[in-house]
Subunit: 103 residues, 2 copies
């Protein structure tokens, strides 16, 4: 259901960089934006898109906000691609079979 938003969110290269920075664990906004070429508000906007897509979770911690990858959101997208892969393989095998038969 929500995988459409997830794939749209991951389509942006900057957002994939952000996701990659969170692979090792949660980070605050400043830590994510630090070293990136774009401004911190831009990072905030990307974080919002990723959160809305279900790919990130936010846990306020005092003054800061820790963002972390939400495994469930990633899994939704995985499932979509798995079903697509299954169908692609089936269609591929069937086409090969048809071709062999028609030959």
């Amino acid at each position: 259901m929500t995988y459409q938003h997830a794939i749209t969110a991951l389509a942006d290269p900057t957002r994939r960089v952000i996701i990659d920075r969170l692979r090792d664990g949660p980070l605050a906004v400043g830590a994510i934006a630090n070293g990136m070429e774009i401004s911190r508000p831009a990072v905030s906007q990307h974080l919002r898109v990723l959160s809305d897509a279900g790919l990130l979770t936010v846990t306020p911690s005092g003054n800061r906000r820790l963002y972390a990858i939400a495994p469930e959101g990633v899994d939704d997208l995985r499932k979509y691609l798995d079903s697509l892969w299954d169908d692609a393989l089936s269609a591929f095998a069937r086409a090969a079979h048809e071709k062999a038969k028609g030959q």
Copy 2:
């Protein structure tokens, strides 16, 4: 390597519709465009994007061109999401562990 283009290509809803139409097997451009709301040239442009992303293969058949899902391209994207999922789970477990220890 090419999964970036693949995810960008799949981010568009219209292109996902096209992909869905090809789940059962190869189709010609006219057959894909038939019943869709957009014009046939627009479909051609989408097919080009999907092909360049490695998600589709083209096999000219006489007058027409048959497009089919390329399992390999889908698999590249799957691998990216699998690695992302693994890291997300690890980070999640570690964060839970830290929390339990800190408690």
